[in-house]
Each structure stands twice: as C-alpha cells, then as structure tokens.
Amino acid sequence: MDLMPSAEQDEITASVSAFLTKELAPQPRFAEVLPPPALDRPLLTRMAELGWFGLGLPEQLGGVGYGLVEEVLVFRELGRHSAPGPLLAMCLGARVAALAGAAGTAGAADIAARIMAARAVVGWARLPSEAAQRPTGDRSEPVEVMLFDTTGADYVLVMGTHDALLYDATAFRDRHAATCLDATVAMSRAVLLTNAAPVAIVGGHESIGARSRVLAAAFAVGMAEATRDLSAMYATQREQFGKPIGVHQGVKHRCADMAVRAEASFALACYAALVVDGLGADAAMQADAALAVALDAAQRNAADTVQVHGGMGFTWEHAAHRFVERTHVLDEMMGGSRRVLADLISRDGPNL
C-alpha cells in the first residue's frame, strides 16, 4: 500500500501544471454584467491531444489506460488553476459513450472517439434532485434543468443517482442564458424534453457516479490547495505593524487550518480513487466522503483566503473571488453538498 505519488505520477502533475500555467487565458476584465464566456475550442483540442479526456479509459476503448488516481491528479491541477470549460463533462461523457459503445449501443463508440479528440463537446446538466433520483425512462413530464458550459456543445451529460446519461444537445429546449456567479462559466436554464432519448447510458454498476464525485472532489482539492498557497505567500510578504502578518497567530493558524483541510481532502481523494478503481465494497461511500470533505475544504479555504488578503481579497483583480465562485458552481453541479451528505449517511460504513 502506498498513498504517495510515484515518480511517473509526479511527472503527470508537473506537465499538467506547466501546460495550464502557459495556456490558460487571463480572467475576464471587470464589468458588472459580463458577457457569457465563449468556448475555447483550440484549448480543448490541445487538452485532447494530451489525452486528458480519455486518460482513465482502457486503451481498447481508445483511452490512455491510466487509473482514476491519475485522473485525480489532472483534475486537482485543473482545480488549482480554476480552469474554465466543460472538462468534467468531457471526461465523464467520453467514458459514458465508450462504455455504452462497448456494451453494444450503436454509434456510441464513435461519439466517444469524437469527444476524446474534442471534435465533439460535452456540456453538463444539473437535474433537480428529485428527478435525478428517478431511473431512466421514468420521466413523464419535461424536467427543468440548469445547463453548465453547453455553449457550442454537441452533447449534454446528466449524472443521475442511478445512471449517467448522455443526450444530444437538441434534447434541451427553451434555453435562457443566465449570468453565472462565476464569470468563466456559461450557464443557462432549459427544459429536458419528455421524449428525448439518451444517445448513451451507463448504469450505476459501472460506478460512474462514484467516479464523477471523486473527480469533482479532486478539482475541489486543487482549489483548496491553490487558496492555501495564495494565503501563505501573502501572509509571508504583506507587512503591517512592521512585520509580516503571518507572524500573528490569528493569520498563521488560519493558514495552518487551510493546510490541514487541503492535505486531508487530497489524501481521501486519492484513497477513494483507488477504492473505486479496485471495485471496493465501500467505493460509493468513500467517493461521497471525498466529495463532502473536498467541497468543505474548497469553500472554507476560499473564504479564508479573502479574509487573509484583507481589502485586496475583496477586489475583482485578485483571484480569491474566483475560487469562492467556482466552489459554489461545482457544489451545485454535483447536486449540492447536502445531497452528497444524505447519500453518504444512507450507505454502509467503510471497510475497516
């Protein structure tokens, strides 16, 4: 047993970090109401060339053949950079299509290949929790949904409680763009038509739900780490009363708590990834726990970062607000942390 990254895994982290530092666009300039962000297709294509959207898929399904834990390392870096775009939807959408294709769904394998090459784009739909819990096909009325990053998307992924469903983007009608709290996220309200049939479905036995929670947890871990680092750096440099503010326990201890949350949530995201990949009996429970802890860490670390930076932390220019905003978006995309906790307590305990 080893919960420290190998040299190869460290290499993945370093290369993803270097790529994102170089390639990500600066944040939008300030405006009270910002235009919806455009889809950065060239960036998605370059990520696809690096294999990011098929990283955890077996090679015979067109993927890179790594495990969930390597995907965790990638999503953690994406979170550190609060990277915009439909990255979670692309990664999971490719898996849903590939697994459905392998199970005999016509055309699904082709869709998977197009997603992995970023020739098809996948957005994300968040169903009301009650609708999400109903199994597929048991939908007699149109469902109101919130769409994330579906600008220019060909497909939309729905993570239900039981199944993961990939729809053609045309299944969502009456779209009304909404200004998202996070200016880098395109968001719209829409209706999922009753008669819409998914192009690919993956059942709960494929632990797709657990995978989605572990990857979202990894993104949140990255955010918790980035805000920890921003705060520690600022507390070392910023001087008041003739000394760095990090000398004071009020600031130092806040930073220490951020470090503990980041470490604990990273350790659990890795552990849960290994349990999910190993088909452990407590995989779903560990994935829920990983997401609950990571969302909590990301949220509290972001809030603490605003506080440590004082007035600077409240400005648009500083990155702190982006982490505050993205945490809330991620939380809701995943059905809300209250939903996650409700699932967690309904399951059997861990394998001790």
Partner: protein, 390 residues
Amino acid sequence: MDLQFTREEHEFRDEVRTWLRAHVPREERPRDGQVMRDFDLAWQRTQHDGGWAGISWPSEYGGRGLSTMQQLIWFEEYALAGAPWIGSCFVGINHGGPTLIARGNEEQKAYHLPRILRGEVVWCQGFSEPQAGSDLAGLQARAVIDGDELVVTGTKIWTSFANVSDWQELLVRTDPDAPKHKGITWVICDMRSPGIETRPIPTMARVSEFCEVFYDEVRIPLSNVVGDINDGWSVAMSTLSFERGTGFMAEIIELSRFVEDLIAEAKTRTGPDGRRPAINDDELARRLAMVRAEAASLRAMTYRAISRNERKGTPGPEASMLRLLFSTTLQRIFRLAMDVLGVDALEFRPVRSRGGWSGTYMRSYASTIAGGTSEIQRNIIGERLLGLPR
C-alpha cells in the same frame, strides 16, 4: 499509489488476527489504582510471551521490529479485536523505551528495556511543570550535581499514572545560566525515591490517572542521566515526533469505530422529535455524515503519512496535521454523540466503559491540549510546512 498489501503483509495480518483472537482479555479494563496497573502489566506480559511486545522496537532490543506498514496492520487488527487500551504501559512502550533505544547507554538499555517489554514496570513522564506547559523548555525543576548524584527539587504536572509508576522520564534544569534549551537534562527517576510525593489531580473526565509530582531534594544517580548533562532537550525531541506521528495510530483507527458506533446508535435511538430514529433528523444526519467523511479523510491521511514515513524514515512536521485533525475531529464526534443521545447523555458513564459516551465526551476536551496543544500544532504547521515567519 496503490492499496494492495503484499503477500507477506496479508500473511502477517492473518497471524496477528489469529493471535489476538485467542489472547485479548475478555474482561473490561479497570480504570483505577493497583488493579488497573496489574491489568495493564498482565496484558503487556501476555503480548510479550506471544512475541508481540514492542512492535515498533528494533529486534536487537527484544522488540518486534515491524515496519510502519506492519504496525498499521497490527493496530487495525488490535482495534478490530477490541483489545484494551494500552493505559499505564503507554509511556514505557511508546516514549521512555524508544528514547533509551535512541539515546541510552548499553547499561541503561540492558536494565530497563527487557523490564518494560516483559510488563514488569510502569513508566511515567515528568516533562510539564506548572510554569512550563507549551513552553516546555522554560522548565525550572532544579537539579544540582552532588558527588555522583543529581539532587532534584521542583514540581511536575499532568503526569499520567505517576501514582502507580516505577520509573519516570524526567526533565530537569542542570544549568540555570545557559539559554533555556541548553541547560536541560533527561534523567531516569526511580519513583520510589525518598522526597517524591505524588498527588492525583481530579479532572473533568473523572479519572484519577492525572497527577502532580513534588520533588524535595530527590537524589538520582548520575548514571541515570540519558545522553549528556545539559543535552536533555535533544534527547526529549528524539521521540516527540514519534508521539505526534505513528504513536497514536491506534487512536486514529479507534476513531472510525466511534463514528460507526454512533451512527448505529442514531439508527436505534429515538430522535429529537420523539417519534422517529435520531438518524432521520436532518441536522443530526448531516452532522453524522460529515464526521463519517472526516473520519475517512483522517484514515486516508494516516495512510499517506505512513507511506511518507516508509519513504523518508521520519514522520516530519506533517505529523502535526494528523494530530490536529485527529483531536478536533474526535471532539466533534463526541459533541455530536451528546446530541444523538439526548437526555440519556446526561447519565454519566465512565471513560472507555461500554456505552461510555458521556465520560469519553468529557475526556475529549483533553485531546486538543495533550501532546502539544492545537495552537502549538498550528504554529508548527504554519512555520515548518507553510514557511510562515516566526
């Protein structure tokens, strides 16, 4: 990263499980006095006779010489088997013994180590003083060299099990003029020496293991000094990271059990609405879910710390993160237990007794103080891990 144990580790787990199943005492551990001491020593002796004494000690000193990973397996199985808390044997096995191994001379090791392993003696710790708590290096218990003896006068406090101990690891000031870290000596003190008086300190957890110890010109042979005179601070530090690292692995593993036991309680007990089980109360359910998640993260963090340890060989300042999260999570769990149990929580049940939520809740207040307060742990994390200025 992987979760696979090696074939040897699986076989080791089987061996541990089989032995524990056959030897764990069935009776509840007495909580006080001579019977408690007898129980703890008897259990230590049983482990020794079975070849399980000093699992973290090198085999050349009679220990089992287990890797950190094997220690983890031992403690996992120990918790699963419901084996008793180490109690008054803690300091000898986890602190005094390891310090002697690291810094003692051959005579000291030859005399004391086998006695600790065989469960013949109880050790206690004489570090803190009324005026030296978090600022341990500010300790004032005075020791003057007189011939081939040290003559000690002063007071120690928070010494668990002093009233049933044979030996003590004692820090004394041998040079009052040197900078505070430079004038301290680590010495083995015979607790039956004339001039020693121990006084139990009743605590909010209603256990009487806590003591204050008074020294009135207590004479200790110079041959009991471990390391050099005035070099005691470095001797003490040689095992402090151990205490903050794998030394409390057993308690972390126990914590996951507390959470699952509490969830089971919440399913059978009537909740605050007087009708449905407590688990159906939204707020209790959410808090229970969150402590389950936190316990899982603590477990994963322990595995990460052990993996780091296996690579680097020392726990390092990361151990403070584990200690801090452990102690705050423990308090949250027992605070929540009080709400799950409702009015029944008011019926006092002793620490570590069956169904003893209330006593252990009161005990949990100590977890953010003992072994370095949470404030000290946060200083260490801030300064040594995040590089914040002192």
